[in-house]
């Protein structure tokens, strides 16, 4: 099968990878670029642990072909922190204990990050709808909702 060379921009870094065009975005990120923070948990676009951000939109990496994201800006969980400093949403997750086993956490953080960028003063219902595409088996979601709410209310200021 013909492989092709594609260039992906992930966390502000260009990567050239040589892939079969049927390669999913999550496979390109994990197996070809080597960033394993993004996970995979199902085959039916249901669980959301593969969520990454493409051009400011949360998408599921298991249902996007890597080739379709050429020329777009891809953000994964590894790209949240800057120079070792955590984003407010990451700090909020720590403060609220908004994770347990952590396997859904990367995807959840990306959904939360995209949601917070788009939403001004979200209600609790809107926050819950905002992470509806991400399953968590451990927390029961309420701590995650609390974390997102705290960030939305401006409880955290970004480190300069």
């Amino acid at each position: 099968m013909e492989r092709q060379l594609i260039r992906l921009n992930v966390n502000n870094q260009d990567y050239e990878i040589y892939i079969n065009p049927k390669t999913l975005l999550v496979e390109a990120i994990r197996d070809h670029i080597g960033l394993t923070g993004t996970k995979r948990g199902c085959d039916t676009v249901s669980c959301g642990v593969c969520t990454v951000i493409v051009d400011n939109m949360a998408v599921k990496g298991c249902s996007v072909l890597a080739v379709q994201t050429e020329g777009k800006k891809i953000l994964t969980v590894e790209g949240l922190e800057v120079d070792g400093k955590l984003q407010p949403i990451q700090k909020a997750f720590l403060d609220e204990g908004a994770f347990q086993c952590g396997f859904c956490t990367s995807g959840m953080l990306m959904s939360a990050t995209a949601f917070l960028k788009e939403s001004k003063k979200p209600t609790e219902k809107q926050i819950r709808d905002g992470i509806e595409g991400n399953i968590c088996r451990c927390t029961g979601y309420n701590s995650i909702v609390r974390a997102i709410d705290a960030v939305a209310k401006g409880k955290y200021t970004e480190d300069k």
Binding site: T44, V45, A58, C62, L65
Partner: protein
């Protein structure tokens, strides 16, 4: 496992149609792929050529004018529809429907054209668009044609399109005055597809019902018009008793299939309830609409 394919990225709709014409059933259009990749993973679809139209911005638009009504380009994402102030103003039921479609992630990448072409009887947009008298414009290398959604679905996961055709536009006529459309699906989880679903449009003439459309989702192999239910409503002075009767008619005429989520009997029961409720809700909306 997804089978291997040759990946093609046309630079224009015209080029895409030429590719489709060349490859016929060996070619498959991919846009958002939110449904397609799942069935490819299951080995149900194994195209030799994948024609990627995701970047065809010429097909991504939301337009409205008083005469022609609403036109949405096929590669417009669900999210764009959900967030469109224009659509919220003119066709609010489309926004309501999109808000409950799958998840934000799926709506960000998946498209209205892809959804309709997938022809899932449990899909959300088809019943709503059908209830509003919507159509799709499909194109091939040799021309275009408009197919009312009423006639677009032929069988489970099958449409009236030929192998060399693809959807380019979704069209919804202007709303008549005193008209309302409401949609609801019955599910266990908030954004699941409906175990069944009903979209209803009521158009009033004074206090009588001038026109009605009751469209059922996942109550047959394809999106289905509940014409007996419509007959109950059209020309009637609407009341709870009439809505009840319309619900019963819809329940009797639908052809639901039992699965692990619901028996045939319960699906009919749900159709009865939802048809009754949506007809009434559409009526409430029609009464206050201009």
């Amino acid at each position: 496992m997804i089978s291997d394919f040759t990946y093609l990225r046309p630079g224009s709709a015209k080029e895409a149609l030429q590719m489709l014409s060349k490859h016929q059933e060996d070619g498959k259009i991919i846009c958002g792929g939110q449904s397609l990749l799942i069935i490819m993973r299951q080995g149900l679809v194994t195209p030799e050529y994948m024609i990627d139209i995701k970047r065809l911005d010429e097909l991504s638009y939301i337009r409205f004018d008083q005469k022609k009504g609403l036109r949405i380009g096929a590669t417009t994402t669900h999210r764009a529809i959900e967030k469109s102030a224009l659509i919220k103003d003119k066709y609010p039921v489309l926004v309501e429907m999109e808000e409950k479609l799958a998840s934000i992630q799926v709506r960000n990448w998946g498209t209205i054209g892809g959804n309709l072409a997938h022809a899932d009887a449990a899909g959300d947009p088809a019943p709503v668009l059908t209830a509003m008298g919507g159509s799709v414009k499909v194109a091939s290398a040799s021309g275009e044609r408009v197919i009312p959604l009423d006639e677009f679905y032929t069988d489970l996961f099958e449409t009236a399109m030929n192998h060399d055709e693809m959807i380019v536009e979704v069209m919804v006529p202007p709303r008549p005055p005193k008209s309302g459309t409401k949609y609801q699906k019955f599910n266990l989880l908030d954004s699941d597809q409906g175990i069944v679903a009903v979209a209803a449009t009521i158009t009033l003439n004074g206090r009588t019902c001038k026109d009605a459309r009751i469209v059922l989702g996942n109550a047959a192999t394809i999106t289905m018009r509940a014409k007996e239910a419509e007959k109950v409503l059209i020309g009637a002075a609407l009341s709870d008793a009439v809505f009840e009767k319309a619900g019963e008619a819809a329940a009797a005429e639908c052809q639901p299939v039992a699965d692990i989520h619901a028996s045939e009997e319960y699906r009919r029961h749900l159709i009865k309830i939802l048809a009754k409720r949506m007809a009434k809700a559409a009526w409430e909306q029609a009464k206050i609409s201009g």
